[in-house]
């Protein structure tokens, strides 16, 4: 049974040779350890940020500021919102107006929203979604979609405003406000329950914005690649039987109206926001 090869292997496998072999495995592992963790994504972005800081520094104070910048994981600790947002590890420039023209991810945050919603108090993910604890682009942005923590993009971001702000505070004409009015206009409560009112012919919508993509029924025939919550809701509003025969009325909505309703749906979450972070007037949510 023992061929010359196995016999030779057996002769070779003496304890000293095996110890040496084990040592080689250790070395490979150590080398791989160093290489694997050598260049995290955020390090490159922060280096770029620091380089630009130094290049733009023109007085003693800003030179000192640039010199003090440390490349390290950065995070906003938000115990009140039960989260830690590490987005700023790559998006280092969001609060620095000098980076308005810098490339992403180090650019300044657009608009003036951060002046009221300071990152120290609110962080990032309460509005943007995604996975705040992650430190890689893919995991933080919830890619590839569909994922459990997708980021809200474009107009859908407005859904997050409704997590804290009551109906009476919605900016007139915003997607969220239009969606809120369409909900009444189409008479959705005839079949659906929302908070304490409405009917039970269709599913309760009170927490629909917290549902993940895999909690929606995609039917047996859908073969598309987009399985996001946003896509499901929009398709469903334009044609309730898009994925499976549904008893819901087809309102023949325009794309625009369907999307506005999606925004409103996304605002209906069960996220717990502590009172002191709520807007002064308080929500009209019951």
């Amino acid at each position: 049974m023992r061929g010359p090869l196995t016999a030779r292997l057996r002769d070779l496998a003496t304890p000293p040779v095996l110890i040496a072999f084990g040592g080689v495995l250790w070395m490979i592992a150590l080398l791989a350890m160093v290489l694997v963790d050598a260049n995290p994504e955020w390090e490159a972005h922060q280096s770029e940020y620091r380089k630009r800081l130094a290049a733009a520094a023109d007085d003693a104070a800003s030179v000192r500021h640039a010199g003090r910048f440390k490349v390290q994981v950065k995070q906003i600790d938000l115990p009140a919102l039960e989260r830690v947002d590490r987005c700023v590890s790559c998006h280092v420039g969001i609060e620095d107006p000098a980076f308005a023209d810098a490339p992403q991810p180090i650019a300044t945050h657009p608009g003036d929203l951060l002046t009221i919603h300071t990152p120290e108090r609110f962080g990032c993910t309460i509005c943007h979604g995604g996975n705040g604890r992650a430190t890689s682009r893919e995991d933080a942005h919830g890619l590839p979609e569909p994922s459990l923590n997708p980021m809200l993009r474009g107009e859908f971001l407005q859904g997050s405003c409704g997590k804290c702000h009551g109906d009476d505070e919605f900016v007139a004409g915003s997607r969220l406000e239009v969606g809120r009015r369409l909900f009444d206009h189409y008479g959705c409560r005839t079949c659906h329950r929302l908070y304490q009112s409405g009917n039970t012919a269709g599913p309760d919508l009170t927490k629909v914005g917290s549902k993940k993509f895999d909690a929606f029924f995609w039917g047996n025939d859908y073969r598309g690649t987009d399985r996001s919550v946003v896509y499901w809701l929009e398709s469903h509003f334009k044609n309730p039987s898009a994925f499976y025969p549904s008893t819901m009325l087809n309102f023949k909505m325009t794309d625009e109206n369907a999307r506005a309703l999606v925004v409103y749906m996304l605002s209906l979450t069960d996220e717990r926001i502590p009172d002191r972070l709520q807007p002064s007037r308080g929500p009209t949510k019951p």
Partner: protein
């Protein structure tokens, strides 16, 4: 000064001597002292039978299982620095390990893969002991201790399974503890005691954590001590009866030059020494010194196993699913892999049969093995023909178990229906 003479003068220094209390191990007396004067090495006898060195006799499985357990203790303590056993924070600890703790993923992987490997090696070690008849004679009770250790090992893995607090953990433990609830009369109470309530929640997490990090380690250390002590008291590990004449193989390869010095002067035998010791006294030529022959082999096995584990832990990540959610039942919800055979049986029968009767009988059967035919026929020989029927029966049990686990792991899909592994 050359490196060699530096080592020499170090060895002769008063401090070094105060620690090791022996000369350089260039003679058999000092080699014996190397073992007897060291609290850890003293687990070993000074001399062992040459047969015990054969890799293909034990495959080093008991030793490798011990090594994995020690690795689990070390990595487990490191994980404890980061882990908080509460439903709010457990899953976040996992995320932090992954994203911000330096080499946190690697640390978790090491613990994860060593744990799964330990179950496999402990099971293989049990199979080795069975197939070589090493549970016979004076070793009957050590087999029982071994069975207890195996059950404790499963308990370790089962309690650890819940700690990441992700969907996989939550539902595996829900399925597992529901099986325990099928015990007649006491079932509900047992489950309630395990979970600290009726559902897998904060109390269950805390209980599993305490069992995993305090109770089970203490128990395993105690039973391991007994296990090793018994191996020593039974005259070292088993082997075939010595032939009347000393074999002509000659001494094993020498790793150190010998100078005269007889180790057996150190050994005093009790009047009624265990049989194996008597045997080895009859023909001292068949024994070799533990230092270096056994130690160098143990070092080799440890180097290779640790090296392999490091590589696996670097490239294979332990899963982390979404956070535990009691409202969202995965389909199918599977128990941990080593219980899938039982879950499979439950799926064709009742929770009582698959969850209580079958495992209960399995443990009882294992415990009974050394006491069914108490004789010493064929000890130390793999698949000895005198034990043909026992070997066949054990093999059928083993293969059946493995098959059911494989079916449960790869061939069960939605609603526990049979599927091909590649169909989803």
């Amino acid at each position: 000064m050359s490196a060699h003479s530096l080592m020499e003068s170090l060895r002769c220094s008063a401090i070094y001597r105060s620690i090791v209390r022996r000369g350089p191990a260039d003679n058999d007396i000092d080699r014996s002292l190397a073992i007897t004067s060291n609290v850890f090495l003293h687990l070993h006898p000074v001399k062992i039978r040459r047969h015990a060195l054969r890799f293909t006799y034990t495959f080093g499985l008991g030793g490798i299982t011990t090594l994995l357990f020690l690795i689990l203790c070390v990595t487990g303590v490191l994980l404890m620095f980061y882990y908080v056993p509460s439903p709010e924070r457990a899953y976040r600890s996992m995320q932090d390990l992954r994203y911000v703790v330096p080499y946190g993923t690697f640390l978790r992987n090491l613990h994860h893969w060593a744990a799964h490997a330990m179950i496999v090696t402990a099971a293989l070690h049990m199979a080795r002991v069975f197939y070589t008849g090493a549970f016979k004679g004076t070793r009957q009770f050590n087999w029982v201790v071994g069975v207890i250790l195996f059950v404790l090992t499963l308990g370790f893995s089962f309690t650890g399974y819940l700690l990441p607090w992700d969907q996989l953990a939550f539902w595996a433990i829900t399925v597992g503890t529901n099986m325990a609830a099928a015990v007649p009369l006491l079932g509900g109470m047992i489950r309630y005691a395990l979970l600290g309530g009726n559902i897998v929640g904060a109390n269950a997490l805390l209980r599993f954590y305490v069992l995993h990090c305090a109770v089970l380690p203490a128990l395993v250390f105690v039973f391991l001590a007994v296990h090793f002590w018994r191996v020593r008291k039974d005259g070292g590990i088993s082997g075939p009866p010595l032939p009347a004449e000393v074999p002509e193989e000659g001494p094993p390869e020498r790793l150190f030059a010998t100078t005269p010095g007889r180790s057996y002067a150190l050994v005093a035998l009790p009047r009624e020494a265990p049989a194996a010791v008597e045997e080895s006294r009859k023909s001292p030529e068949d024994t070799v010194l533990t230092y270096p022959h056994l130690l160098v082999r143990e070092a080799a096995a440890a180097m290779v196993v640790i090296g392999g584990l490091l590589l696996v832990a670097l490239f294979l990540n332990a899963h982390l699913e979404e956070a535990a959610n009691a409202l969202k039942t995965p389909d199918p919800a599977k128990a941990p892999w080593y219980f899938l055979g039982l879950q499979e049986v439950v799926s064709w029968s009742t929770p009582f049969i698959g969850g209580v009767l079958v495992p209960g009988l399995m443990v009882l059967a294992l415990l009974a093995i050394p006491y069914v035919r108490p004789n010493s026929v064929g000890v130390g020989v793999w698949f000895h023909p005198a034990r043909r029927r026992a070997v066949i029966a054990f093999t059928i049990g083993l293969v059946l178990n493995v098959l059911l686990i494989v079916v449960g792991m790869f061939f069960r899909g939605h609603g526990w229906s049979l599927v091909w592994p590649w169909s989803n």
